[in-house]
Symmetry: C2
Subunit: 326 residues, 2 copies
DNA sequence: GTGAAAGCGCTAACAA
DNA sequence: TTGTTAGCGCTTTCAC
């Protein structure tokens, strides 16, 4: 692979002139021509690693996510990539699978590469491993209060779910969450639901489920209860995934949705930009989350002195689907 | 940010010793101790850009995909990331949105960064822009015969779809594809279907649809036909997305699935690792595609002389769902 | 506008 | 084993 030196020799100029030319500074027209053809002849490609070594400016941003294989994360990844790309940054995608060791190694890698910034959605406490002064913005969760945070308003989402179910005048309200998904955000969703119910004098029930095993026992007892009762049920499932499972199991058991049971999920999964799931849901504004997170990171990357830790709550809204009436 | 020189000074050794220590070579125990504490004291982090400049070995692989926000691509991205990670490579995720200019710029970036390799699933002719000798492996499509290819056996998939429908003794067979998705792979799916039908003396019909507009006209005439007929229909939709749209529209029109119509899609979309869609489908072996592509790239990255262009066809299989009987 | 030369932080060859 | 030193390919003074 040829270097700038080769080009300079071929064009009968110095490396400095080639560098200037490449960086858009003024060079004598004749020199420009000769450099240009030398580049073509030698198939020269600028080496950015060397360039970076000198300028200390990386174009990479590390994005740490627990998963990319799920509608929510793939949508988030899409938007983050898009907004980074618009700013001229490249995304290094790191899938942590919620593995603490992996998260740590990604942070180390980011520091060794001297990347421009880190964007992370981490449920463990990754942020405490950042030694350097690389800008970092957290999405969804940040416990050390050391870095900026962009998050959906989960608490408000829980309230909206309760409100929407209440609007539909259902006899029984149930919150279903999975015990093995016990994060701050999940609890906020639950708390919002509970608070709304309490504030409005609504009776409700809390059900816990082991979503990994699709917990037949809990689901079956729910089915029995619903089938034997002569009243209507409203369910708020704490994720779309859970709402989907419930919908399928209920329908298989002969329960009519939304006639007998109405279900609202959380997340607002979209398969693609224009294919949405049929479950009614409290939809996170994924694009907005991505945009705000990238914006905040951008500020911190542009200005190393900028050290205003911000907390941004992104509004959330009900998106009707086939599992609720109206 | 402190450098190796600082560490060396602090530990009273030479930079070479620090370098050796960092790279796992033997150093005198006392030196090791002192270097270690110097590193901690100075908060030293190795600079990989400088390291690369010397060793000429990048740990990055560029992955170019049209989209990441769709179950197929997000699953593919997941596996590719996983297998790259296992080999110690980091993935730079580039979403092209099928934009030729973007694809070109990603290749340029890859070359300037001197990345270790490129993995691409590109429907335009991106490969012709690779000037350098960076290893590249194509997924799904490669027209220049210059690079290795890993692809699903789309033709075989079309045949399987026809076979599965035929097994179910349906009166009318229909292939539905979208006119605006006119690639080699899509045509292979269609051709497989047609060939199977012809070879087995089956009558069939070809329907084209503009999937972007959800082409009401075509769908409505299909619905009329199905509702007025007293015979059963079997449909092979050339993607799961299309199969989903058809299923929903049919059901909304009061057509029973799979009683009156049986539908098979293509791709085998999974929302997450353990959540699959309900449409019956010809499922691509996404993990295998990713694994083979990464393997092939690995060979080429490890051994620059390795220049055996391979074409790998990954088998494909029918995955029953709720839109077919049995 | 241009060129010589220093140096970014590291590795590797060589000598000690 | 360890230290000295010469680059890797580029940018950036600073004279000219």
């Amino acid at each position: 692979m040829s270097s700038m030196k080769d080009v300079a020799r071929e064009a009968n100029v110095s490396v400095a002139t080639v560098s200037n030319f490449l960086n858009g500074k003024k060079v004598r027209p004749k020199a420009a021509k000769e450099i240009d053809s030398a580049i073509k002849k030698l198939n020269y490609v600028r080496n950015n690693a060397a360039r970076f070594l000198k300028t200390q400016q990386s174009a990479f941003v590390v994005f740490v996510v627990p998963s990319v294989w799920s509608p929510f994360f793939s949508e988030l990844t899409f938007w983050v990539q898009k907004y980074l790309d618009e700013l001229g940054y490249k995304m290094v995608l790191c899938v942590s699978e919620n593995d603490y060791q992996k998260e740590k190694s990604y942070v180390t890698m980011a520091e060794e590469q001297r990347v421009a910034g880190i964007l992370s959605i981490s449920y463990s406490d990754l942020t405490s491993h950042v030694h350097s002064d690389i800008p970092l913005v957290s999405i969804e969760k940040e416990s050390t209060a050391q870095f900026s945070l962009v998050s959906s308003d989960n608490y408000e989402g829980g309230k909206i779910a309760a409100k929407e179910l209440n609007k539909r005048k259902l006899d029984n309200l149930i919150f279903i969450g999975s015990a093995n998904h016990n994060s701050v955000e999940m609890n906020a969703r639950k708390a919002g639901f509970i608070d709304y119910c309490n504030n409005h004098g609504l009776k409700f029930e809390i059900v816990e489920i082991d979503s990994r095993k699709k917990d037949k026992k809990v689901i079956d007892s729910l089915i029995q209860k619903i089938k034997s009762a002569d009243t209507s049920y409203g369910i708020f499932a704490h994720t779309d995934e859970l709402a989907l499972v419930l919908t399928e199991e209920f329908q298989e058991a002969g329960i009519k949705i939304p006639e007998q049971v109405q279900i609202i999920g959380f997340d607002g999964w979209q398969l693609t930009a224009d294919t949405q799931l049929t479950v009614s849901s409290i939809r996170q504004n994924v694009e907005e989350i991505a945009k705000e997170a990238v914006d905040q990171l951008h500020k911190e990357m542009e200005n190393p002195n900028y050290k205003e830790v911000s907390r941004l709550m992104i509004p959330i809204a009900f998106r009707p689907g086939d599992t609720t009436k109206n």
